[in-house]
């Protein structure tokens, strides 16, 4: 039977013993106890019997990027129960976006800034407490639960095969979305277009403000492809692009 921690507890997997020592000290100063493993099997066995407050997962164990499959496995077995945070030296935005698409909740780039770590840990611990205080909920009948959700994004670029969007939302690959904007008639020859998400990459910038706090700003660049059967759309976009570059 799995046991829930009374006080915050992190489960870490990383093959670097120096990093494990560092993160253990850092998290202890935040009042978070640490269980750490350098190999996947004992890590997963621990998870079978214990429920940490969150997991911190290195993307690369040895030479292999097993972090992706660890995230995927945990989500398949345990669902959304535990926040999963990736800690990795890679800054490849597509690798980061892929980890998020597989179910990771957050990403920390090594070397980790302590104040950023502290801010994120505070958020994950408080979200568990808030979840326990929610008012009673009612399930919505399956036949009536469908909705349309409208989100705001920015258009970063337009090319003749698709459009690049910028936002803080992660749009899953393959997702079909309807895009509208006041200038749509000018760009696309119509008020709105249907596109399909083709790829994501993460844009992260870290800066220190005047007060010495580390502020992380992150967003996603999402490339969305036009409907390949919509010949008129391709004609209109090419005409607009030709005018822009001509």
């Amino acid at each position: 039977m799995s046991t829930l921690p009374q006080s915050p507890r992190a489960l870490v997997i990383d093959d670097d013993p120096d990093f494990i020592q560092l993160i253990t000290v850092a998290l202890k100063t935040l009042g978070i106890a640490v269980d750490a493993y350098q190999e996947v099997e004992p890590f997963l066995l621990h998870l079978k019997d214990h429920r940490p407050t969150f997991c911190l997962i290195d993307l690369h164990i040895g030479e292999v990027a097993v972090g992706f499959s660890v995230v995927k496995s945990i989500r398949e077995v345990l669902g959304n129960e535990i926040p999963l945070i990736i800690a990795s030296a890679t800054t490849d935005p597509q690798a980061i976006a892929h980890a998020m698409e597989l179910g990771a909740d957050d990403y920390l780039t090594k070397p980790i800034h302590f104040s950023l770590l502290a801010a994120k840990m505070k958020n994950y611990i408080s979200s568990r407490k808030i979840a326990a205080l929610q008012p009673p909920f009612m399930t919505v009948p399956q036949s009536e639960c469908s909705v349309g959700i409208e989100l705001e994004v920015k258009i970063l670029a337009i090319d003749e095969l698709g459009v690049t969007l910028g936002s803080r939302h992660l749009l899953r690959k393959g997702l079909e979305i309807e895009l509208a904007c006041p200038e749509a008639k000018e760009y696309f020859g119509r008020d709105h277009i249907s596109v399909r998400v083709a790829s994501n990459s993460l844009d992260v910038s870290v800066e220190v403000n005047a007060a010495g706090d580390t502020i992380e700003t992150s967003g996603y660049r999402t490339y969305c492809a036009y409907d390949p059967d919509d010949e008129k759309l391709f004609d209109d976009v090419r005409k607009w692009l030709a005018k822009k570059t001509g």
Binding site: D105, I130, D159, I177
Partner: protein, 231 residues
């Protein structure tokens, strides 16, 4: 297919209808959309309706010849970035040299072998003929996107939304659906909470908690009444 990108449009400008027919059949077999023009003037009209990604141009034509057109094509926006391949019976080195000097990417002498034509077209094709327009970061156009979702749970204060989009925390969003209309919430506004969305592994979607903003007392009463059927 000549390339992986779709759709592929090639414009043939040749006053010889037989030459156009042969090319058109050949390209049609490769899955390409073909536009035909018997003169430069007609070619420009076709291009302005459906900008092509490649032009196959004959040199010797009565009204305006190919070399003259090559000289001025950069002034036509829909043709300026497009690669031109000359297909001509003229095999003299002067014609070839002039065409290449005026920017043609290749020169094919009639009669040609279809495999050579296909190879040269494939080589000349650019995935993005018309390039990419990047907007100024200081003034990016704002757009709205609509994605589907499902309301999983609802209470008097908030609802839990499942969606294939991981909606950012502390974001204003709009939601519409029959169930909300039933609650009299025709034009509600919503705000996602500060907590990041959770991931549902089995269906690869995200759960977000969303606060109601500006809910009326009538709406609350309707939800409360419905909550007589708690889970």
């Amino acid at each position: 297919m000549i390339t992986e990108t779709t759709p592929q449009i090639i414009l043939i400008i040749d006053d010889d209808p037989d030459a156009r027919m042969i090319l058109s059949r050949l390209l049609g077999r490769e899955g390409v959309k073909v536009l035909e023009a018997e003169s430069v003037k007609e070619g420009i009209e076709q291009a302005e309706k459906s900008p092509p990604q490649l032009v196959l141009l004959d040199l010797h034509m009565p009204e305006e010849d190919g070399l003259s057109f090559l000289r001025r094509r950069h002034a036509i926006p829909v043709l300026a970035p497009v690669p031109f391949i000359i297909i001509s019976a003229l095999s003299d080195s002067d014609s070839i040299h002039q065409a290449i000097a005026l920017g043609a990417v290749d020169y094919i002498i009639k009669p040609y072998r279809s495999q050579i034509l296909a190879a040269k077209i494939k080589k000349a094709f650019k995935e993005k003929t018309f390039g990419t327009h990047e907007f100024n970061p200081a003034s990016l156009p704002v757009a709205k996107i609509k994605v589907r979702g499902e309301i999983r749970l609802i209470s008097e204060a908030c609802l839990t939304l499942q969606s294939p989009a991981k909606i950012a925390a502390e974001t204003k969003i709009e939601i519409d659906g029959a169930y909300l209309k039933k609650l009299g919430m025709d034009q509600p506004s919503f705000q996602t909470l500060a907590n990041p969305p959770l991931y549902t592994g089995e269906v690869r979607e995200y759960l977000s908690q969303v606060n109601f903003v500006g809910l009326t007392e009538i709406n609350r009463q309707k939800i409360s009444k419905l909550m007589g059927n708690k889970p």
